[in-house]
């Protein structure tokens, strides 16, 4: 069919440009608008997280006790605090006018507090701080905390995924390539591990080994990685088995390539697509797992924060200070949303056969 080495033709004898798998996949990905939006959001989040130390934001651990629970606003914190206090004062006054004379002492206290606040705002340099997304219960900037929380969450997602992939790929590749009884044994082990209630094991590890709290991030990494490589090991094994009798492997073997070389040079590049898809879909699930632990009080410890701990903190006062819950929750949801769309898009792009799979 092909009339020369470099040119290929389609069924109508028209010349077509040969397209590599990656170029083809990229074309399909770009066509998928939601996946592209997801990609941009992920890049944006990643850039902000990377650049956090040089961005013009306040210190995430610095407390301004004067400005606790300031709502999101573009005005300086001093002004916001004063108008909040003014509102409180007016509210009490209105209540007294309605006949609640028992509130008179509250009114007097609020008035002196108000005067003191005005005095403090005049003297404090922090009064000019602008908290776009408000402050938390210790007067820390929510924007900075959300960004730094995102750093930790994304780090957990990334490290967990990388560990899972390293372990899983090596394990799966060995089992798949060696085959026979060893494969059987290795996969039986994976089956049994699958039978373990995975989250419970992580919780036990966290609760038991997390005594001092200083190394809690490391323990999270270990705990999550320990139980997360199973899926990828299975997938890689299946792929390797289906590929290892292919002709190009036969050719490599006949040329004297060693087993390691065949696995790493010939087999793994061919299943890179599967691994990439797994990665994008695994990162959100690791972030979820970490925030799940943090929410239960077993994760990252203060003053460090992750999206999970921020949400858990925000839940405490959500009726009066909803932004403390909504800001981290929205940031986290947006990122997970973007990751999921990107993962779906990548799967459709790299593996057209499985299009629209759940």
């Amino acid at each position: 069919m092909a009339n020369s080495i470099n040119k290929s033709v389609n069924e109508f004898n028209q010349q077509v440009k040969p397209v590599s798998l990656w170029a083809d996949a990229w074309r399909r990905l770009v066509k998928n608008r939601m996946a592209l939006v997801g990609l941009w959001i992920v890049i944006l989040f990643g850039a902000v997280a990377l650049l956090a130390p040089v961005l013009p934001i306040y210190d995430y651990a610095h407390q301004e006790i004067m400005f606790q629970n300031i709502p999101p606003s573009l005005r300086p914190a001093g002004e916001v605090a004063i108008s909040q206090a003014q509102k409180h004062l007016d509210h009490i006054q209105a209540l007294i006018k309605e006949g609640r004379s028992d509130l008179q002492p509250d009114f007097e206290k609020a008035t002196t507090d108000f005067a003191a606040l005005q005095q403090m705002v005049r003297e404090s340099p922090a009064a000019n701080n602008v908290y776009i997304l408000g402050t938390d219960y210790l007067g820390r900037d929510m924007l900075a905390r959300t960004i730094y929380g995102g750093r930790i969450s994304m780090l957990v997602g990334l490290v967990g995924t990388v560990t899972a992939i390293l372990l899983g790929v090596i394990y799966g590749a060995i089992a798949g390539y060696v085959g026979g009884r060893i494969d059987n044994l290795m996969m039986r082990f994976v089956d049994i591990m699958y039978g373990l209630p995975y989250m419970l094991i992580v919780i036990i590890l966290m609760a038991m080994f997390n005594r001092e709290g200083s190394s809690s991030i490391v323990i999270i990494f270990v705990a999550i990685a320990l139980v997360s490589w199973l899926t990828i090991a299975r997938v890689v094994r299946g792929q390797i088995i289906s590929l290892k009798n292919a002709e190009f492997i036969e050719a490599a073997r006949s040329m004297g390539a060693s087993a390691t070389r065949i696995v790493f040079k010939y087999l793994l590049p061919n299943i890179l697509g599967v691994i990439i898809i797994f990665t994008t879909l695994a990162i959100p699930s690791f972030i979820m797992a970490e925030s799940f632990l943090s929410y239960l009080g077993l994760g990252i410890s203060a003053p460090l924060a992750s999206w999970g701990t921020l949400v858990a903190d925000g839940v405490q006062g959500m009726e009066l200070y909803p932004w403390r819950l909504l800001v981290p929750a929205l940031a986290m949801t947006m990122f997970l949303f973007a990751m999921n769309f990107l993962g779906d898009g990548l799967r459709d792009a790299l593996d057209p056969q499985s299009k629209n799979r759940a």
């Binding site: 036990i204 799940f292 009726e319 929750a329």
Partner: protein
């Protein structure tokens, strides 16, 4: 067929054995014990305490003793709830979690499949896009965000549902609604996506075309031909989903202050209540393993193409 079921059943035993052994030693190697956080007591009292719970014996003896007890269905005394045995605690809290989990899973299956059917039959119409956007939200939003948000909206602002509590409380069955919806949301989303994808695939199959060519009504084609083939993946997802839902109920139980086994589990691992942790792990894994077993059996009934190895 009977042979297949029997062999599949026998294969559960080594799995459970490994789980029990692994978790027993995992818990024991961890630093700290059930009495290490208490007030400093004299050496003699410490010795007596350890003796009372047989913790002065060598580890392998403790293990054999524990294993024997578990086989007889006795999970031993609780270290931190001194009045109760572990069996008491489990029988108090377990039904609560199961009820929550089953309700949530039923909601997820019912709405998930319905939404899947609708959006696959109206592919690329607004119904499809709307439903699938909701499904992606369901997958992306963690339970501990959904829960508090629902509390904020329906309990604190609208005052139509109770904020927290369980059905034995003042508000009765109403207290089940918010936690069950929260818990079911991600599974609803996953089932909706999965059933949509597999219905779309089956709709293109030859036997569906044949059914239509025979002149069957569209509703009959969908209900009798398409769904039968398309719901297989959903069935096989139910096993892991049920196990997941129980883990998810940890969060929901702590958000809505529900006296279920999940809360006890988190408490017991912080207290190093060895026997209680072991009991919860064994029960959870048993559910997981048995659910997978049942799903395998149901699957082989539904899909004659599966060989009974």
């Amino acid at each position: 067929m009977t042979k297949f079921i029997f062999r599949r059943f026998v294969s559960l035993i080594p799995t459970m054995f490994v789980i029990v052994t692994l978790s027993f030693f995992l818990i024991r190697v961890a630093p700290g014990g059930p009495f290490s956080s208490e007030r400093h007591v004299s050496e003699q009292i410490q010795q007596n305490l350890l003796k009372k719970y047989h913790m002065d014996e060598p580890l392998y003896k403790q293990y054999l003793r524990y294993f024997g007890d578990v086989l007889r269905g006795d999970f031993g005394p609780s270290f931190s709830y001194k009045e109760n045995t572990v069996n008491d605690l489990v029988s108090l809290t377990f039904p609560v979690s199961i009820m929550l989990g089953v309700t949530a899973l039923s909601i997820a299956v019912f709405f998930g499949i319905s939404v899947g059917i609708i959006s696959s039959l109206r592919q690329n119409k607004w119904q499809d896009y709307g439903a699938m956007s909701i499904a992606v939200i369901g997958i992306s939003v963690p339970l501990f965000v959904t829960g508090p948000l629902l509390q904020l909206i329906f309990a604190m602002k609208l005052h139509i549902l109770p904020v927290a509590g369980w059905i034995n409380g003042r508000s009765g069955i109403l207290a089940l609604i918010l936690p069950a919806i929260t818990l079911s949301f991600p599974y609803f989303a996953y089932i909706a996506r999965m059933s949509r994808a597999s219905i779309l695939e089956v709709l293109r199959a030859d036997y569906v075309r044949t059914a239509r060519a025979k002149g069957l009504k569209e509703s009959v084609v969908v209900a009798k031909h398409v769904l039968k083939g398309a719901l297989l993946p959903v069935v096989s997802y139910l096993g892991p989903a049920f196990a997941d839902i129980i883990t998810g109920s940890l969060v929901v139980e702590s958000t809505f202050a529900i006296p279920g086994i999940g809360r006890i589990f988190v408490q017991s691992s912080l207290n190093r209540d060895y026997t209680l942790i072991m009991a919860t792990i064994i029960i959870f894994s048993l559910i997981l393993v048995v659910m997978n077993f049942l799903v395998d059996i149901i699957y082989s009934f539904l899909d004659p193409r599966i060989a009974y190895k």
